[in-house]
Assembly symmetry: C2
Homo-oligomer: 383 residues x 2
């Protein structure tokens, strides 16, 4: 068996779950956060960094790799793992999210979605069958169905997109041929509980080895996102992993786990880092802030990451003011470390039956940016 | 004794020397190449990378650190070593080279050199005394006298600049107070043998613990540079280290060692790397070249660097095409590795009495870019 999921423990006070995913490239303790390596590299990090950070799964984007360097090139060089020098588990998305983010550059129909490359304007048609072939050439451990991600508040568009997403899911399943890759279905339905329910039922009937929840963190409020998770997660089979796509703010990870999510991915930690924003246990800080100019303290007292063990806020401030490449790297290390470490703590708390207290304590200390606007592409890798 | 130099062996067939420099932050086996960390970071690398690469000395630029973050800030944070997290030996230049490169933005007089910051246009006066104070605040192990670097072919300007450089050297020596920092004098004189001789004699009379040769690799031909080294090096005391400033092309290192040079620094390996150019034993290659698109080989067969051990030319090509930060880092690692490794081989060859053969073999295999134009600021860190 190439792929498996063991549900090890369920929290009494919430829907939080402790589990383990097995893939041909190793195991993933869940709940887990996957850093995003859009173009076959987690921006500013190398594979050794990722191992040292304790990342057990990374995500890479089919849309980007299909366009550059091309899935055939990656396949010729031995597949994505070998190409990028990462021997751990990889998940590739279907490219659907990126393509549907190409406002004005794409047209979707039942056959698939026609789009123009953001690189050279060339025209391409993504069908469920092509997206399966491309992901098979890339060779990730977990691959995703082509889905249509609709604006969450648009009921009519969500109904139409959902029918297509379901038809495409069946076509992806039929086209999928590599036994060493696990194909996940993606539940859609915007902020509409009945559509989410319909989607969960339709897809579970197709019996995928795992299920993603898509179309969230794309402009809806946090309350709406939570409501959709509460509707959807209980409808998914308990013995399959549940993956919330494109979500990665610390508070969202904690809230997602409480609602039964096992996997998360997001560009947020890496993108924020390149913009000088660091996660701390108290909330976000911006390294460009003048108050850090002479601050000898690390970004977070007690943090075990390479950055905090060796460098002061003053040095990080200097690196960003001076636009030095090392700044992007050190900030990225810290942000990814915080999320990976947070997931480790969450797993420990679930295992010891104290997840509710841990969640409460974390959220009490963490200053959330209120109802932050997170439109399409803002927290997910766009173009 | 804080600083020392031991001459361990002299080559029979050339002026090559094997030695060891002792500093408060460790020893440096010479001949050695020092990577440049202009703004308190060797661009794209972290201190652990530098240790792993075997770099034993790094250079940082007084001009840049004086302007940003300010030497007082660095001092307040415990000095440059602590600020940048590098516990090995550091050399700071005087800032003179950068200031004299600010064409149209500076005026020099006997007192010092008045210039406008490239960052905000603010006006500053570098005097020998200020430059000493700034370098003492930074706290490097080896510091440099303020000198005036003249256009090498301009005889009149070189005569005037040399008188100033000598007067400033004496003032630097008088102003220098930290016993744990070794102050080096800088021989100038353009491409004029008599001026170089005069400079070497004047400065050695001041009895510095080490001597730099400046004003080379700034627009003169390689033949002119070699001639000046042949004139100057024999006039410097055998028991003091000799440092050729701003030189770092592989062929120049070999040629410099043959003429009695112990230390080199240059931004060339790091700057070329960020422009996708890699050193190999056969010469330079450019990673953007389309011929590498599907090349599964490493940049250099048999190379022991992290980059060559883990990544193909095809992957490096992809990273540069996709403008990924990891590309700059991996290319920088390879280029610095090659120079540090080349110096290690040179030391081994001198120790075993086969430097002449090693030099000949290296130069026979290495395709030099013929009489490359290397104007001011091209191979040294400019602004």
């Amino acid at each position: 068996m190439y792929f498996g999921f063991s549900l090890l423990q369920t929290d009494r006070s919430s829907h939080a779950r402790l589990g383990q995913i097995t893939t041909p490239h190793g195991q993933i303790a869940t709940p887990a956060f996957a850093p995003v390596g859009t173009q076959a590299t987690v921006k500013a990090l190398d594979p050794r960094d990722l191992h040292e950070l304790g990342a057990e799964l990374i995500l890479s984007n089919t849309y980007h790799l299909y366009l550059r360097p091309g899935a055939d090139v990656v396949a010729e060089l031995g597949g994505l793992h070998r190409f990028m020098g990462w021997d751990g588990p990889i998940l590739t998305d279907s490219g659907g999210f990126q393509v549907f983010s190409l406002a004005g550059r794409r047209t979707s129909g039942d056959e698939g979605v026609l789009f123009r490359s953001h690189i050279d304007g060339s025209q391409h048609l993504f069908t469920p069958e092509l997206v399966m072939r491309v992901q098979e050439e890339l060779g990730a451990d977990i691959i995703m169905c082509l889905d249509e991600c609709a604006e969450p508040h648009d009921r009519a568009y969500n109904e139409q997109a959902l029918a297509r997403t379901h038809a495409w899911a069946a076509r992806c399943l039929a086209a999928h041929s590599r036994a060493d890759q696990a194909l996940f279905g993606i539940v859609q339905g915007g902020i509409w509980a009945d559509l989410r329910q319909q989607s969960a039922e339709t897809l579970t009937a197709l019996d995928f080895p795992g299920y993603a929840i898509g179309g969230l963190s794309v402009g809806e409020s946090k309350a709406e996102m939570h409501a959709m998770l509460e509707v959807t997660a209980p409808l998914l089979p308990a013995d399959k992993p549940r993956y919330l796509m494109g979500v990665g703010a610390p508070e969202d990870l904690v809230e997602g786990v409480a609602r039964g999510i096992d996997l998360f991915d997001c560009v947020l930690p890496t993108r924020l880092a390149r913009n000088a924003a660091l996660f701390t246990r108290q909330g976000r800080i911006n390294l460009r802030n003048a108050r850090f100019e002479r601050d000898p303290a690390p970004a977070e007292a007690g943090c075990g990451c390479y950055t905090c063990r060796h460098f002061s806020l003053a040095y990080l401030h200097h690196l960003f003011k001076a636009q030095e490449l090392l700044g992007y790297r050190l900030a990225t290390i810290h942000n990814v470390h915080l999320l990976v470490e947070l997931m480790r703590e969450i797993r420990g708390a679930i295992a010891e039956g104290r997840f509710a207290a841990m969640k409460e304590e974390f959220l009490a200390g963490y200053r959330v940016i209120p109802e932050e606007r997170r439109g399409l592409g803002s927290s997910k890798e766009g173009r």
